[in-house]
Amino acid sequence: MLALAAVVALLGFGLSRGADGTIDSELEQGRRPEAPALRLPGLNGGEASLAGWRGQVVVLNFWASWCDPCRDESPLLQRFHERIRGQGGTVVGVDALDVSSDGRAFVRDHGLSYPMLRDGDGAQLDAFGVRGYPETFVLDRRGRIAAVRHGVVDARWLRETVVPLLSERA
């Protein structure tokens, strides 16, 4: 009986963690789910949490130095960060499942100045349901997820997704 209950519980847990039961489906239904709490070490030391950027529009980008598409989109993310910085927005990078020295070299080589966090064991990938690299989440000023991009971002998507949020109140 206990074994049956355990199996049922595991199945329930698996279903609740399924890709269609989470952020994507919430967004498809026009809702903005609360972003998972995220607290990580900085790639260059220190520590930061998403709560620290509450009140700003956050473009949260998951990447790794060995990911070629991440390399392709990083100059655009840097330019976009410079553009929205003065309007209450920021890009935040999360280097996940990567060798930290490789990640730091990537940041240095691409001249990336936006905040960089490090998710060594990939725990935040699970929390956000990240399925591949790169993935980008846009958070409104209240810390809710307003959009997600599976794959490389482009200028049009950033403009159409992020700029309207900049005019929203916290």
Partner: protein, 158 residues
Amino acid sequence: MNRGIPLAAVIALVALSPSPALSSDCPLTSVPDLEDEVMCPVCDTTLGVAREAPQARRERAFIERRVQRCQTKAQIKSALVDEFGDRVLAEPPGGGFGVFAYLVPALAVGIGGAALALAAVRWRRPGRCDPAGAGDPTPLEPGAKARVDAELARLERR
């Protein structure tokens, strides 16, 4: 002048002695030695299986750099855990469910062994249905002792 000779000898000896990185004990391990014991966290397989994945190549390079620095297997594993957390280890970590992966088979073997030993002891011990071996010997029937004594005396006379 005499003091110069021992000093030169010491300098020569130091110069000729192998550095730790070049000694015969180095390298202490190798990438192939480690790659079946650590995971490629992105691939979710051991590093040995994930040959071509980009993350696996970076991880292999990370290990190779430490092998060249003459680090031990334990040191390299520790560095990998610092980078990727416990899930980078292919063997169970020192806590939680991982411990059970070792403990459960060990307990099963122990309990099985104890059960076998107990069964063997019980099998060898005479049971209640075996009166021949349980307790006092059967008393002789009347006259039997006298017959035995007479037979013994007859044998002694021969």
